[in-house]
């Protein structure tokens, strides 16, 4: 992919009429190469933008105490990661990330947040010693990871930059078991396999999860009160007659009469 700036739809336009307007502007702007940002590489700048967003919001997730804000920061972090995927030429993965992670998983998370969104539960603050320990452990881990990352010289040089984006087709073909992408030099043709079996396994796995989710959300009658119900009734809130506990006789004819009955007669 050539970066997000390849605006195809203005490429075909004929701008020759603008020629007499633009040159003065152009000469002004042409002076700018003297500045250090002259040969700016937009692909890299966008990378910096997305990388900054991803890292910043990831740290935001750690720093935030409110669980909804954490979820929001996570959304932004994952969204920026999708941007990184696009920049790395993995368009299908980027869209997948947006669709499943950001769109699906996080809605699920927000669901959970909403279901548990009681004032005392929204922010459960970790203790300060926990924070300290985490900061120390995190810093050590980060240094370890970065040391490892920078220890390979071949990874540190600049990449080739912008080349045409690959299609999603080879990815799809690989998932059904056929490799159509160009193998790197020296790879035996038989050495590259498709992903038919893992794909099937994942499919079945997802199906199982689907069934599990349906099982979780299934409707059922509760015969014995849960501990939480006892807890709730012990609280000094006025007792609540939930729909399921309403006695059937309450609806029968001549049963409970409203205090409003009688009217103004």
């Amino acid at each position: 992919m050539t970066g997000m700036l390849d605006m195809d739809f203005i490429d075909f336009m004929d701008f020759s009429t603008l020629t007499h307007v633009v040159p003065p502007l152009a000469t002004t702007l042409a002076a700018l190469p003297a500045l250090p940002i002259a040969g700016i590489n937009w692909h890299s700048v966008l990378f910096l933008l997305f990388a900054g967003l991803a890292c910043g919001f990831a740290i935001g997730v750690v720093a935030a105490d409110n669980v909804v804000r954490m979820a929001l920061y996570l959304v932004f972090s994952l969204g920026a990661t999708a941007g990184l995927f696009f920049l790395a030429g993995a368009e299908f993965l980027g869209a997948m990330q947006l669709m499943i992670y950001v769109g699906g998983t996080l809605v699920l998370l927000v669901f959970g947040v909403m279901l548990t969104a009681q004032a005392p539960l929204v922010s459960i603050k970790p203790s300060s010693s926990d924070r300290t320990l985490t900061a120390v452990a995190g810093a050590s881990l980060l240094s370890l990871l970065l040391t490892a990352a920078f220890s390979v010289d071949a990874w540190r040089g600049p990449g080739v930059g912008v080349v045409p984006a690959p299609s999603a087709t080879p990815l799809g073909m690989a998932l059904v078991g056929v490799r159509v992408d160009e193998p790197p030099a020296g790879t035996p043709v038989g050495g590259r396999v498709g992903y038919m079996l893992p794909f099937e396994i994942v499919s079945v796995h997802l199906l199982v999860v689907l069934v599990g989710a349906a099982y979780l959300a299934r409707a059922k009658r509760r015969r014995t009160p849960r501990p939480i119900d006892a807890l709730a009734s012990a609280m000094p809130v006025e007792p609540v007659s939930t729909a399921a506990t309403v006695a059937p006789t309450g609806r029968s004819a001549g049963g409970a009469r409203s205090a409003l009955v009688g009217g103004g007669r």
Partner: protein, 414 residues
């Protein structure tokens, strides 16, 4: 354009910035300007449906400046925030919604190659980004510190997540027929007369188009699926506590999404910028006849697609002012018990049709010869990839050659 700017002596990064800015502003205008027009249209249509006149005075005739006046009123309105609201999230939510709606336009082609960024996963991208709009709504509902807003947000979350499933299935059918997720190629595959539209490809696609319409209306929260803002139940749902400009961002996002799903329907099923009559071809223009001819072809295509998308939006308005609202459990039933199974069956049906009768109902009828290309299936005997306008980058990575080797996929969809 970039080349032109560079040719004027501008440094490359300035040229790129200007090009990007022009594109972004154009897209922004599609949403903002579109919203202005559609709000006005909605008022006029609603009025006509209801035996009223609607706005008549603002701007002289027909009240055509009414939405601008509304916009100015909204700008001048006091911006309120409830006391218990989560300030950051409350302020952020409308922009999240709007950005999602806006971002999805990046990959929507308005005519052949008139697209913000041509992605080879275009369909997927649009659907994925469209699903992000729900975040703004959830945040708004949560941050407003209002129970009605929370109800609206939860409804929206449940509804949009559910409807993404059948919507995805519907969208996959044209992808399957075209053999690509690239929206530009999908549109171009339907070139020619109306008969080559995927809508009329086979009976299954015809039915699945209507499933798509249902799901699209539901996923952009329009009546009869406007549960999230059901005014008779939830006051105004997720935007109960919003006013002024922030509220109008939600509104713009809604109209942007309406236009987007209509445009997507047009590209996927209604031939995109092609048909019902190949005007450009009948007039003797084609991409091959020079620069200005290509320009005309694209302009015609642009008008064509905009017209179709607008028709789609008008259709949504029509049903909004006609039908009562469904209840939330009925909305979910519609999705899970009707739309999803129908979409699944239609998907399977379209698949088998494509397998056994790949030409569709009207094979080759009225279709321009040799104009529909699909790079990676053409094989070595096909047109050279570089000469083919309907495919660009994809061909450089995957030529036809590997298929020769694997002996697969030599069947052309035609």
């Amino acid at each position: 354009m970039v080349e032109f700017l560079i040719g004027l002596g501008l440094p490359g990064w300035v040229a790129w910035s200007i090009a990007a800015l022009v594109a972004a502003v154009l897209l922004l205008n599609v949403i903002a300007g579109g919203a202005l027009v559609f709000i006005w249209a909605e008022r006029k249509i609603a009025a006509r449906i209801q035996d009223r006149l609607g706005p008549t005075r603002t701007g002289g005739r027909f009240g055509w400046l009414q939405s601008l006046a509304d916009g100015i009123k909204l700008l001048a309105k006091e911006d309120l925030m409830p006391e218990g609201a989560d300030g950051l999230l409350f302020r952020l939510a409308p922009y999240v919604s709007f950005c999602a709606s806006f971002c999805a336009f990046i990959a929507l082609p308005f005519a052949f190659d008139v697209v913000g960024q041509r992605l080879n996963v275009g369909v997927f991208f649009v659907v994925a980004v469209l699903g992000l709009e729900v975040f703004g709504v959830i945040l708004a509902g949560y941050a407003s510190a209002s129970k009605w807003s929370l109800f609206g947000a939860m409804r929206e979350a449940a509804q949009v997540v559910s409807y993404e499933v059948p919507l995805g299935m519907c969208v996959v059918v044209p992808v399957m027929l075209a053999g690509t997720m690239d929206l530009v190629t999908i549109g171009e595959k339907q070139a020619g007369w109306m008969s080559s539209w995927f809508l009329f490809h086979d009976p299954f696609t015809f039915i699945i188009f209507w499933v798509y319409v249902t799901c699209a209306v539901a996923s952009v929260n329009r009546a009869p699926f406007d549960l999230a803002e059901a005014e008779s139940e939830l006051v105004a749902g997720f935007h109960t506590e919003y006013s002024g400009l922030r509220w109008s961002f939600f509104f713009m996002a809604e109209y942007g999404s309406m236009f987007l799903v209509s445009g997507l329907a047009a590209v996927l099923f209604l031939g995109g910028w092609n048909g019902p009559v190949p005007v450009a071809r009948l007039l003797g223009f084609s991409d091959g006849t020079g620069e200005s001819a290509a320009y005309v072809v694209r302009l015609l295509g642009l008008a064509n697609l905009m017209g179709k998308a607008t028709l789609g939006v008008l259709f949504m308005m029509w049903i909004r002012w006609t039908l009562p609202r469904l209840r939330i459990d009925q909305v979910m039933t519609t999705c899970l018990k009707y739309c999803t199974p129908i979409a699944a069956v239609m998907f399977a049906g379209a698949m088998f049709w494509q397998l056994f009768l790949p030409g569709g109902l009207f094979p080759g009828w009225g279709r321009p010869a040799g104009e529909i290309r699909e790079g990676w299936l053409e094989g070595p005997g096909g047109l050279p990839a570089a000469a083919s306008p309907a495919e660009d980058r994809s061909s450089t990575v995957t030529g036809g050659e590997p298929f020769e080797r694997t002996g697969l996929a030599t069947r052309s969809p035609r």
